[in-house]
Every structure is written in structure tokens, then in C-alpha cells.
């Protein structure tokens, strides 16, 4: 039933795991033969995704004993309290340390299911079955799990690598257009930080991607996962290179947090955040104007915002200060040198940051 499948590997020694990418994987029991060794499986999904795919996944997981728990849909529910409810279900069903948790849904479901798997009985098996573009290209890969705190995004969490990521690209056909666009922001990020050819390919194929053309989406997922897997394999715990993946995210998290989780989709905030980082990079003399213009052009064509919401710069700064990227009191930012090359730095002009947050960085000096 699966027409074609790619298998990538995230190389992490004894914790290495495969990323399976293909059309129809969700309905094929073989997708889970290797990765779900448990007899008892808790499927965590949400009220939007479950009506579409839950029964298919349950069938594919037979004869394992499955229990499903459905979360409300949306970033505003990504809280410690929701994770506590997942844990209650695990306890109520007397699942042991040898159970597995399977996340069926987008990034919010994956982050919370993964966090619950990380802290139930000090860690149980976890499998990601991402059904959104954003989750397939980013959040399902790399082991970051967690929840938001009223004081900041993803402040509470754990590193807990999945045993496998099963990305059925057929699920992208049911994705709302706004969700598809938000996912493309993260795809653009990979080109920006690491791969100018992929960025150029995205410029050529923007309309095909927006139209949901399966071949184009499959390539975008595969190339994004290749880049992320390579970076995570080098720096699992984000002591160095992995921080490049935060391009646009320090700005983006502040947007999400300042406007209240759920108003902006994560990918939308990252889209605007990448443009802000690029404008600041250009104004600081780091990024050529042509590269900035290409980025703004692509983000606009993808239907994503290219500027911050109308929030005072000081408010944005407050939200950035509690972000996890703060070290020694100094906000570290990912800035761009050119399309395909980014740096992590805390060495920048503070005034330039403030002007960027006000939406008007000066031109390159």
C-alpha cells in the first residue's frame, strides 16, 4: 500500500532512530514493526486529527493493546496541566515502564506526548506520527519535548528522543492552508541556515508547495529532515551548532508569548521572526541587501507575515529575555551572513535590536 518510502537516520549512538517518510505509511502495520515493541500503547492525539486518522492508526498497531487520549487542539493548551492529564490516563490504565506513547498530530501533540513519555516512570518508549508539515519537518525530529509556561514558550520540558518518526505525507492533503503555510516557514529556515540550493528550489517551487503538490511536499520534508538530522546528530543537547535551528525563533517566541499563545501560529511567528533577524543582520552590515530581499520575497509569496505585530519594543524585549536562548543575562540571536550561512551571537548592537523590534532597523552602514 506504500508506494515509496525514504528512511533517514538520526545518528545518536545507542539512541539512533529512523525517520520514515512516505505516502500511506500510517495505514501500514510494517511502519511500526521495528519501532513500537510495546504491547501497551497510549495514542495521544487531538480532537481535530483523531476523526481523520485515529482508527487507521489503531488498526495498524494491532494486535497491540491501544488506548487513546484526545487533547483539545491548539498551542494555548500546551501546558503542564494537559500533560498531567496524559499521565493520569497512563496510570489509570496501569501502563508499566514497558509501554509506549505514540503522538498522532502536530507539534503541540508531539511536544506534550513526548514530555509525558519522558517523565512517566522516568521515561518510556515514544514514537512520533506527525500529521502536519511543521511537525514532519521540524518538531517531530530531535527529541525536544515540553510545554509552555505563562512566562515563556517551551520553558518546561525534557530531551527525550523518539524510537522512530513515521511521517505519512498523505496526511498533508487534509491540512488547512494556514497550517501548510506555517510549516513552510520552517522549511525555508533549513535553506537559510544551511543550503542555498534548497532555498533556490523553494523559490522555484513555492506555488507547487502551496498547492499541496505531493512530490514537492515530499521533497521538502525529506530535505528538511536530512538537514535537521545531521545537525541533531552533531549536537543533541544544543551546546553549539543546534542553536542555528533557532533562527527566527527568539523573535518568534516573543511574538507568540506577547500576543498570547494561539493567536499567531508558531510557523507564522517564525516566518516574521526570520525576516526580523534578516533585517537586523542587514542593518548591522552582515547580510547583503539582495539576500534580504530574496527572503522577504519568498516569505511574502508563501503568505506568511513579514513583520512583527503591533507590540511595543520593550514588551517584546521582556519576552525575549526569558527565552531559553538567554545565557549570562545576554540574549543570544541567530543572525544571517548570507542565504545558506548563519551564526549564533550575543555580540551585537543593543540599539539595533531595539530598532528591529520597533520595525525600523537603520540601513546597512
Amino acid at each position: 500500500m506504500v508506494t515509496s518510502m525514504d528512511i533517514l537516520t538520526v545518528e545518536l549512538g545507542s539512541r539512533s532512530y529512523p525517520i520514515l517518510i512516505g505516502q500511506g505509511l500510517l495505514r501500514d502495520p510494517r511502519s511500526f514493526t521495528e519501532s513500537v515493541r510495546a504491547r501497551d500503547v497510549l495514542i495521544v492525539s487531538n480532537t481535530t486529527v483523531a476523526p481523520l486518522y485515529l482508527s487507521t492508526l489503531e488498526a495498524a498497531l494491532r494486535p497491540r493493546r491501544t488506548v487513546a487520549t484526545l487533547l483539545p487542539d491548539g498551542e494555548s493548551y500546551k501546558t503542564f496541566d494537559t500533560v498531567a492529564r496524559i499521565l493520569d490516563v497512563l496510570v489509570a490504565n496501569r501502563f508499566g515502564r514497558d509501554c509506549a506513547v505514540v503522538a498522532l498530530g502536530g507539534g503541540v501533540v508531539g511536544d506534550m506526548a513526548g514530555f509525558a513519555a519522558a517523565i512517566y516512570q522516568r521515561g518510556v518508549e515514544f514514537v512520533q506520527v506527525p500529521t502536519t508539515l511543521l511537525a514532519q519537518v521540524d518538531s517531530a525530529v530531535g527529541g525536544k519535548t515540553g510545554v509552555n509556561h505563562p512566562g515563556g514558550k517551551n520553558l518546561i520540558g525534557a530531551f527525550h528522543q523518539p524510537a522512530a518518526v513515521v511521517s505519512d505525507t498523505a496526511t498533508l492533503s487534509t491540512l488547512a492552508p494556514r497550517e501548510l503555510r506555517a510549516g513552510l516557514a520552517e522549511v525555508v529556515k533549513y535553506g537559510l541556515i544551511r543550503d542555498p540550493e534548497f532555498f533556490a528550489w523553494l523559490e522555484q517551487r513555492a506555488e507547487a508547495l502551496l498547492a499541496g503538490e505531493p512530490g514537492a511536499l515530499a521533497h521538502a520534508v525529506r530535505r528538511s529532515c536530512e538537514i535537521k538530522a545531521a545537525i541533531v546528530g552533531q549536537d543533541e543537547r544544543e551546546h553549539g551548532e543546534r542553536a542555528l535551528l533557532n533562527l527566527g525563533h527568539t523573535f518568534g517566541h516573543a511574538i507568540e508569548s506577547a500576543t498570547g499563545y494561539g493567536r499567531w501560529l508558531h510557523g507564522e511567528a517564525v516566518g516574521a521572526g526570520m525576516v526580523m533577524a534578516a533585517r537586523m543582520s542587514h542593518a548591522g552590515g552582515l547580510l547583503p541587501r539582495g539576500d534580504l530581499q530574496r527572503l522577504v520575497g519568498l516569505i511574502e509569496r508563501l503568505g506568511l507575515p513579514v513583520s512583527a505585530p503591533d507590540v511595543p519594543a520593550e514588551t517584546m524585549l521582556e519576552h525575549m529575555r526569558i527565552d531559553k536562548k538567554v545565557l549570562g543575562g545576554r540574549i543570544r540571536l541567530v543572525l544571517l551572513q548570507r542565504i545558506g550561512a548563519a551564526i549564533v551571537t550575543a555580540d551585537y548592537d543593543q540599539q539595533l535590536l531595539l530598532r528591529t523590534l520597533e520595525g525600523q532597523p537603520a540601513g546597512a552602514s
Copy 2:
């Protein structure tokens, strides 16, 4: 000011860490020079311990910026909600990923502070400053952190190794006699599972230990930590040998859980639990009668309970089934072959377990 100090090491590759044991360590800034590299430090303690030692620890940590948060005292507060309050304090003080959490107190404080450190910003530095015998010989060493769930003890948690354990044996002089006795149960455990000479030494020195004789207590702490460090170094995540440390704990957790957390001290439940495991081992033909009698004699002399509370066997069994030691639906138990040798097994007579829970295992066949 420190008269003598022992340094042991828990060997875990890049996560190896020292255990410092000595009189007066708490008031000596040098105890923290290597291990607390952070500028921002959250001290987590409780309302019983803080009046005795908090200001001393704060002075020793200067010039670092310290914030203290005090938890209510007792196992009944070892919950997800209490950990959420610790996290709120970290966020409210804008502590970054480069902060440290220091636990000042017993096992409950250490388990919760460690769990908060494990999940704040996906993991920050953590230092244990145990002030009870039980914490110094057991819970502060080995990286197990977590909280209880109404359905079972320590069901929610994480492995998060400390950067150091600083055990000031002078703090044992302020310990309530009941707490001291409870700690001695875990000390007896080390002799039982691994070291018959240490067990014989405990038989000789029981009264000195109960009287709080500093030299005797220091030796008990040191030898217990040596044994635990060796086992944890071999099997950090409890895939094998580490499970021996659970001797008496599956029974003990069921006692604590069935009677409501806090009624029995953890060490009291472990004391009774070890006797139950020994009685079952003897009744099953595994443990000689003489060894059982020596254990019962020592536990009694230490003023610890030697039998389960008046709870129906079926209720106890229910609580044991949700314990983390359950794999594949079968309760694994640590049983004794002789003083100094224990085994982990799921291969035992179920009727024997029931009769043990009823307080009357049959004699050896």
C-alpha cells in the same frame, strides 16, 4: 573549618560527579567551588530544614545570587503541583538555562528540586545538599528524581544526575530520632544486598548509630555511598543490577501508597518491606532461617517495623501492580539468597506472595 572529608566519585563518563562527605561542609564555600558554576542559584528547602541551615548555605554560596523557595515538609507534598511552584519561582526570577538548583533537605526536597532542575529549560545544573541520613545514604545519589502520583509512588520523574552531592554529616545531629531510624533502614539494605561484613558491622554498632555517634554515622554514610556509587556507575538507568537497590521497596512503596503518603516514613516502609522480602525468600526455600532471624533482629533493634500494616493483601497487591518494577504485567521482586546476596526475579510462587502480604508465609519447604 572542615575537620576531615572523604570524596567518592560516581563514574558516569562525562556526567561523573563527586560525593563530598564530612563534618561542617555546609559552611565551607570550598564545598561548592567546583560544583556550583552558576551565578544564579535557586535553593529549594523546606520549612523544617531552612531555619536550621538556610542562612549558612546562602553565606557559603556568596557571591552568587541566591533565591530560596521553601516547600511544606512531608512526603504528602511530593506532587506535580509542588514542582510546578518551584518552576514558577525560577521563571519569576528570570533564571536562565545557566542557573543552578540546589536541594537543601531530605529525600522529598531532593526528589522535587531535582525533578524541577531536570525539566526547567530541558535541564539545568543541580546540586544535592542532603541533611537527613536517608538522603545522604540513598536518595541524593544516583540521579533519580520525581514525584508521587495518587496511583503510585515516584511514578512521574526523570533521571537527572547532580553535579555534586555535598553531605555534611554534622546536620545529622539535628535529625529527629524517628528520621534517623528510617535512614538506617536504607543503610541495612546495602549490607543485605552486597556486603555481609558491613551488615555485621551494623549489628555491632547499632546502638552507637541510634545514639548519633558521629564516627559511626560517617562510616555508615561513606560505605553506603561507596556501594550505591558502584552500582549506579554500572547501571545508571536500572536495566539490570541497579534493581537490587529496590530490595524492600516494592513492598515498601505499596505500604506507603496504601496507607496514604506520610503516615509511614519511607525508611520505615522499606524496613518492613525488607523483612517481608526476607520472609518470602525464606518461605520459598531461598534464604536460610538464621539469616532471616539476624535481619529481623537488627531491624527490631533499630526501632523499625518488622511487619506490614493491617491492610488487606489484595489492596497491597493492587498497589504493587502499579509500581514501576512491573514489567510485562508481572511484578518483579528483589529476594534474598543470604545476607550479602540478592536477586531480581519475577519467577516465584504467586501464592507465596499473597501469604507474605497476609503476614504469614509458610515455612521453608
